[in-house]
Amino acid sequence: MPTRRSLLIAVGSAGLLATVGCTPMSSWWLAEGPPMDTPFTPPSGARADLLHHVLDRCSYGIRPGDRAQALALGGSVEEAAHAWIAWQLRPDDIDDSEARRSLRRIPSLTEPIGELYEYREQDLLRQLVQGHSLMAMRSRRQLYEVVVQFWSDHFNIDMSKAECAWLKTADERDVIRRHAFGRFRDLLRASALSPAMLWYLDGRDNRVAAGARPNENYARELLELHTLGVHGGYSQRDVMEVARCLSGWTVRAKNGFKKGTVEFHADAHDDGVKQVLGTTISAGGGARDLDRVLEIVCCHPSTAGHIAGKLCRRFICEDPPDTAIAAVAAEFTASHGDIRATMRRLLARPEFLDPACHGAKLKRPFHFLVSVVRATDARCDAGPATMAYFARMGHAPFQFPTPDGYPDHAHAWRDTLLWRWNLAASAASNRIPGFALDAAGLSRRAGGDDRLMAHLFGRDPDERESGAWRRSGGGERGLAVALASPAFQRC
């Protein structure tokens, strides 16, 4: 039986020598985390129950102690599921100091924009991915973290474009994380004026000049991706009019003073009359045109439907029923784009609260990797080896090139199985630098191999699954098979 100490040694020097930027990585990531020896009670029965379904969908994976913690919130399994959702919808009431402590060694995450430019591009990327991953792995505010990634995809920015390399860190912090559970209008406005977004979608180049047409890149994506949706009922003329409204907003480049500062240049703004989606914006509005446009697009019924549709796709299934979308969209509208209220409505819908739809979603690679860490109580530094797996599986955070963000349908991710299996096998036998788990201890804590599988699958293993575990030889290999199995790819 491996002790904590032998586990430390087994992790090997590679993980301990891994570096975050220029900060040497010590064993801090091994020293933290929940105790590794407490028994836990996995669910039982032939099918996943509501609590497992809710935990699996609304988090990055279920840790051994999570189920008991949720059950302590309410009486029955169903009551506990609802209580857990209510608890997660109030992230400010959830003490997350332990998870936040793991970010202490990642200096760039808290730097103001001016200071970010002092870093090397590759260090900022590495640190941001590490911070994002560590919070997904360790935060107790799991639903919030899931929603953060939803918005990060919705307002996608690829750090390989221009100065986004330096600015995305601030965008993720000041736009996405700050407003992920706030009001959509605030989120959208922060994104519109985010230095990184002004670079990513060329808003900084959108200015009036003699003989030049406005740069309509951001205006188009604002309507097509961020608000109304591609069939949301806008025309090419609307795109051009929105671009005119937003002309003049720019951000200072890194080769000058006040780099990364967002400014409005009245002389570069088209101050004439505009018509946006049937509404007239009178001349002379200047910088105020921005808020007029955001008000128009936020209140447009297509926006509620577009956002509701995407949320339902994320939390219910790939092809969510219209009834669910309509109800969520109605709440979005009624609450004036209150994201938490919208989520509360979604997570109360019968279409979501149906354990039968458990397993309908394929975990995306990021989710899969983090769920391996969480489900096995593994220690993971989210360092270079973790990042390499994200890249191999095509899901490297903040590196999706086009503004539509990483896809949320199974077809896009089916071809990553080989690397999921490789990850399962390597993780179960502690062959990934910066990653350590205790397969034997986990099985013991669960009450046996079949119980461990029930923990991973949310139900008793079927004969095929038990047979596969045995056939592999059990132990680490059994765990590898279970983590690589079709049931664990889903949620």
Binding site: D415, W421, R477, V481, P486
Partner: protein, 373 residues
């Protein structure tokens, strides 16, 4: 049983593109010297390749004697050379020039190969291989940024599933059989596993008596050859060859490297046999070097250089509207001007590897005039 290529990906996708990047600014005037250009002989009194005894290609051009291994392949029309080729980056800085070339522009997300692979994946039906894009080395190069997936490996050992992986194979085969969402993808992945297991377990014996050297470049190309031959659905592979920054005593520095480059490409050609017709190899560098030799028998950073295209149905031959090396045509401090933009060269190659839409996606904002190479 279906053909393994069909199982691993669309049969149209059998074509693969191999990108070799000579890091450091390889001297095009050494790789493919214009020996009959008086300007060349005058500018490099001590290090020029003499016209007598050179391996003549066409026009003023010859192959460096250290590259003799490529002569028969050139004569067969399977090797194309583009001279005075390069990018529009005028900085002569390694980092800037490599970056600009690999991203194919500034202010664009992703790298050219990554964008191409992503656009290519859109038109691909059926499962895509887990090994569709492979970077040999310790990190993926910038050009692969934005690819749908990138496998970075130093060797096949990095693809280990633990022991022989057989213990995992049978259980997975059983668990995924008949799975509606993932069954097909699992079949494809299992075939990938088998191919990898074979590559790992057997000492590689190149075909047709080909022999690879022992240097890193040769080892890397041998691994790429294995991936191509195993038909695991490879679409693109990258391999860096560092060390071409020849400021000092250029000859002794780069001659062994040129020998290895040529011998390895020749071995790869022999090894692949017919498969070279569907496998394109591009050899590129961030810039060429100064026409004039410097005081330490080396050359400094320049602009235009030589680009090689091997296999994949290239018509072969020498491609260059050579401007000559008279003082007035030289650029800046005395550099070969860029006559052929590297994007037009790559576009010519990509047009044989995939759809025209994918080629366009690789180079947004650049009006392509693909070169027939």
């Amino acid at each position: 049983m279906t053909d393994p290529i069909v199982a691993l990906g669309n049969p149209d996708n059998a074509r693969a593109l191999i990108v070799v990047f000579l890091r450091g600014g390889a001297d095009g005037l050494a790789l493919v010297p214009p020996v009959d250009d008086d300007g060349y002989q005058r500018a490099r009194p001590r290090i020029a390749i003499p016209a007598t005894g050179a391996i003549r290609l066409s026009g003023p051009f010859a192959l460096h004697p250290c590259m003799a291994a490529l002569e028969p392949i050139y004569r067969e029309g399977r090797l194309a050379v583009v001279h005075a080729a390069g990018s529009d980056d005028p900085t002569r800085s390694h980092f800037e020039a490599q970056d600009r070339m690999e991203r194919a522009g500034t202010g664009i997300a992703g790298g050219w190969l990554g964008r191409w692979l992503r656009a290519d994946a859109v038109v691909t039906t059926g499962p895509r291989s887990a090994l569709a894009s492979v970077a040999i080395g310790s990190a993926a190069p910038e050009c692969l940024r934005g690819a749908p997936s990138v496998t970075v490996m130093r060797s096949f050992a990095d693809l280990d599933l633990g022991a022989d992986g057989a213990w995992l194979r049978a259980p997975l085969d059983a668990l995924y059989a008949g799975d509606g969402m993932l069954g097909d993808a699992a079949t494809s992945a299992l075939r990938g596993l088998d191919a990898i297991a074979t590559m790992r377990s057997e000492a590689y014996v190149p075909a047709h008596g080909a022999e690879y050297g022992q240097d890193d470049f040769a080892r890397g190309m041998a691994q790429i050859a294995q991936l191509v031959k195993a038909q695991v659905g490879l679409r693109a592979a990258t391999l860096d060859y560092p060390g071409w920054d020849s400021h000092f005593f250029q000859g002794p520095l780069i001659e062994p490297m040129m020998r290895s480059l040529a011998a390895t490409l020749a071995a790869f050609t022999l090894d692949l046999g017919q498969l070279l017709d569907t496998t394109s190899v591009v050899v590129m560098s961030e810039f060429g070097r100064r026409v004039y030799e410097n005081s330490s028998l080396g050359t400094d950073h320049g602009r235009g250089g030589a680009l090689l295209v091997l296999g994949g149905g290239t018509p072969g031959g020498m491609h260059c509207r050579w401007p000559g090396l008279e003082g007035h045509v030289l650029e800046g401090p005395g550099d070969v001007p860029v006559v052929h933009d590297y994007r037009d060269v790559l576009a010519g190659v990509l047009s044989r590897c995939g759809s025209s839409a994918a080629t366009a996606a690789a180079f947004p904002g650049w009006e392509l005039a693909p070169l027939a190479v």
